[in-house]
């Protein structure tokens, strides 16, 4: 039995952690919070140059050719440091869709540019929940019309992969007829945009019915997002614990009150449960195991609930100071929501987990 990452993988994680601790600082994240930049170009450049962002993209396509296990640990560190970068949109979703479903020519054309950071890519692969009713997409085999309501990093993306019925479409966003509108988000550090198409050239990604392909990409993204969530949840718990050791009330450290001890023990328990489900997802993803659908959904549900809880209670543990703009507690509260809803809510994934388990037992 060896249910752990290797020393080399941990070494990479350590390097990424050091780099992010130095670059993805609170001050840097807050530039995106204030809307000064849609993402941190400095942090993104470092993640690309280290080969960390493109860890799972093969060398033949300009990536680092390491693998998913490495990318998972990169994601954990990105989450821990609230890295305001387009990892989810460009890497977990778009690059993954290209890798899994793209033609050789499409991969050759786009993956090296994504891996080197020449462009940022984004994707909308279909969410179980919708609210807005944008002009529906229509595709005549050559050109695309209509709108997509909430594309992550849509205002800076150069490529979009979109689900349209049972097809996946690949759209060069530098092409004619593309217009964008940045949309304010409750997590301003990870912005969305609406993108509209008017006779914009587009091509199919993959052949035939792409529902299974889209789901496979979403499963991979669920695992990678879970690592970001686990990293963020661990960081919030660290902040809470450190504060509870330092802050005094009634003549003692507040961390000594059983109410807070049990609260933090609960957070820890959820975090560690999320972590093992995420690890199992990493194993399934990297070994292309048939368990991936179950493992990915479990990782997503556990990590989403853990991060939301850790972030909500971090404010509570910090007291009044936790409710201020200057403390980073609310950055985690916002990010927890963003990561937890980006590819559909916890309810959809819990149902999927149940469905897959029942199917497996039949």
């Amino acid at each position: 039995m060896n249910f752990d990452f290797s020393d080399d993988q941990r070494l990479l994680q350590e390097e990424v952690r050091k780099m992010l601790a130095a670059t993805s600082t609170s001050a840097e994240v807050r530039k995106t919070l204030a809307g000064e930049a849609p993402y941190s170009a400095a942090v993104w450049r470092q993640l690309l140059d280290m080969g960390a962002a493109a860890a799972a993209i093969p060398e033949a396509y300009g990536g680092a050719g390491l693998g998913y296990l490495e990318l998972c640990l990169v994601a954990e560190e990105a989450g821990r440091h609230l890295a305001p970068v387009p990892l989810a949109s460009s890497i977990y979703l778009a690059a993954e869709a290209l890798l899994q479903g793209g033609s050789e020519a499409q991969k050759q054309h786009w993956l090296p540019r994504i891996a080197k950071g020449e462009i940022i890519a984004t994707a909308a692969l279909g969410s179980a929940e919708t609210y807005l009713t944008p002009a529906p997409l229509s595709f005549d085999g050559r050109t695309l019309n209509g709108s997509v309501s909430a594309l992550p990093d849509g205002s800076v993306a150069g490529l979009a992969i979109l689900r349209h019925d049972d097809e996946l479409l690949l759209v060069d966003l530098a092409a004619a007829g593309v217009s964008r509108r940045a949309l304010p988000s409750l997590d301003p550090t990870r912005p969305y945009a609406e993108i509209s198409f008017a006779a914009t050239p587009a091509q199919r990604l993959g052949a035939g019915n792409c529902a299974a392909l889209a789901q496979r990409v979403l499963d991979a993204a669920a695992v990678l997002l879970a690592f970001e969530q686990v990293g963020g949840a661990a960081r919030t718990l660290d902040m809470s614990r450190d504060y509870a050791l330092e802050r005094k009330a009634f003549g003692r450290q507040i961390g000594g009150f059983q109410a807070l001890k049990h609260k933090m023990a609960d957070i820890y328990t959820r975090n560690e449960m999320a972590r093992v489900h995420a690890y199992y997802g990493a194993w399934a993803l990297s070994s292309q195991a048939p368990e991936l659908p179950v493992a990915a959904a479990a990782a997503r549900v556990a990590a989403t609930t853990a991060y939301n809880y850790a972030a909500e209670e971090a404010i509570e543990i910090h007291g009044g100071i936790g409710y201020t703009w200057e403390m980073d507690c609310h950055l985690h509260l916002r990010r927890a929501r963003y990561l937890g809803q980006l590819i559909g809510s916890v309810h959809a994934w819990r149902a999927r987990l149940g469905d897959e388990l029942v199917k497996g037992a039949a």
């Binding site: 929940e129 949309l183 988000s185 409750l186 009330a249 009634f250 149902a351």
Partner: protein
């Protein structure tokens, strides 16, 4: 049991509603706000104007005697007025601390000349009040405050810092908790004052809260002079005065909870789609709506029990102590569930999603503060466990020792 008004209550309700219809616009839903598009100055002016109009009709403090500017009415009439006013678009919040905490404290503890000076303009909305208890090193542990009050003749000289003071940036007066005797144990050396927020040496600095608004402040006091006549209660009797304020605070907070949040969820769930079908048809969504009803309508029923006690001239039971605890956490959970209805789009702000989202999104950003203000969840649970259930308190080493020594 009968939820209907008695004939007298119904008559009062009609009278109040007639007056409100003549003086304010009806409210159609939770997202509608009186102060749409107003800047802070306009909002303040409008709030003062409204408070003045209420006071003119006797509705500013229904239970207070007529001589004190009230209506000489019953607590039940106050409840009826609040229920009816909730259906109209009127300014909120600005006078909540004045009316809910500060003026009742002044009414209970001040000398007659002070009451005559401060109560009428306070009721009429000419002056706004804030509550200055919490300090950087003493929030839950209010007894640990360090604001220094030194007596010099007939005056007190005040030095120190308060924090989280709601509305201090536009207040005229505040009730201020100080430490006047450092040689007494922590709770026994405290004295309460009325302080003029415009006096020399008072400096207010707004604090940016996580919602992006700045509703609370830091307040610095440097050699601020307060006449001894402005003391509330006896010297070193501040702890008791403060407890009386917190009692009224916790009661008044309960009355402002949005108890119909399940309706807000229904509105959103009718428009949201899950797996291509209206979300409202999904059993999980119905379960979420049911949970919202259980928590928030439960609070309404709890308040009805409190109101019943009040209308019968009794003290509300200990179960009232759970209202803020259930309400604040309920708001947080319901607002989170609302966001989940829209999946990835649930992160977009109401500017994009539509006005029907504004109230829930505000709740999501304010609920963490509601879980802290007026006593944190954990402190309230201690209160329930110790005062209601009679369980033993924490072992405390700081109760008997002079505060000066605790400081070391």
């Amino acid at each position: 049991m009968d939820f209907r008004d008695t004939p007298e209550e119904a008559a009062f309700r009609t009278r109040v509603r007639t007056w409100l219809e003549a003086n304010a616009q009806p409210r159609h839903n939770d997202d509608e706000r009186f102060d749409e598009g107003m800047n802070e100055e306009q909002r303040l002016a409008a709030a003062k104007e409204w408070q003045g109009r209420k006071a003119g009709a006797g509705y500013a403090a229904i239970t207070w005697p007529k001589e004190a500017g009230g209506l000489g009415g019953t607590p039940m009439q106050q409840v009826i007025y609040n229920q009816e006013e909730g259906k109209f678009l009127v300014p909120r919040m600005v006078f909540e601390v004045s009316m809910g905490m500060c003026l009742p404290t002044v009414a209970m503890w001040a000398a007659p000349e002070l009451k005559a000076r401060y109560l009428p303009p306070g009721l009429a909305g000419k002056e706004i009040w804030c509550q200055l208890f919490s300090e950087p090193s003493a929030g839950s542990d209010t007894g640990g405050i360090r604001m220094r009050a030194e007596k010099q003749g007939e005056e007190w000289v005040i030095n120190g810092q308060k924090v989280w003071t709601s509305s201090a940036q536009f207040c005229d007066y505040g009730i201020l908790l100080t430490r006047s005797d450092w040689d007494k144990p922590k709770q026994e050396g405290l004295t309460m004052f009325i302080v003029d927020m415009k006096a020399p040496g008072v400096e207010v600095r707004p604090i940016h809260q996580m919602s992006g608004d700045s509703e609370f402040n830091e307040v610095f006091f440097t050699d601020v002079r307060i006449a001894d006549s402005h003391r509330l209660g006896p010297e070193c009797g501040g702890w008791k005065v403060m407890l009386s304020t917190l009692m009224t605070e916790r009661l008044s907070v309960g009355g402002n909870l949005p108890t119909n949040l399940h309706e807000g969820l229904i509105t959103l769930a009718r428009k949201a789609r899950w797996n291509g079908r209206p979300a409202i048809e999904d059993a999980r969504v119905k379960a979420g709506i049911a949970d919202a009803y259980l928590a928030m309508h439960g609070l309404e029923l709890l308040l009805a029990r409190g109101i019943t006690a009040v209308s019968q001239g009794k003290t509300p039971g200990p179960e009232m102590s759970i209202t803020k605890l259930v309400g604040a956490k309920g708001m947080q959970d319901i607002a989170g569930f609302a966001m989940e209805l829209a999946g990835a789009e649930g992160l977009l702000t109401h500017d994009t999603l539509g006005q029907e989202w504004r109230f829930m999104q505000r709740l999501w950003l304010s609920a963490p503060g509601a879980r802290l203000a007026g006593g944190t969840d954990e402190v309230l649970k201690n209160v329930i466990a110790e005062r209601v259930l009679g369980l033993p308190g924490e072992v405390r080493s700081d109760r008997k020792i002079p505060f000066r020594e605790l400081e070391r």
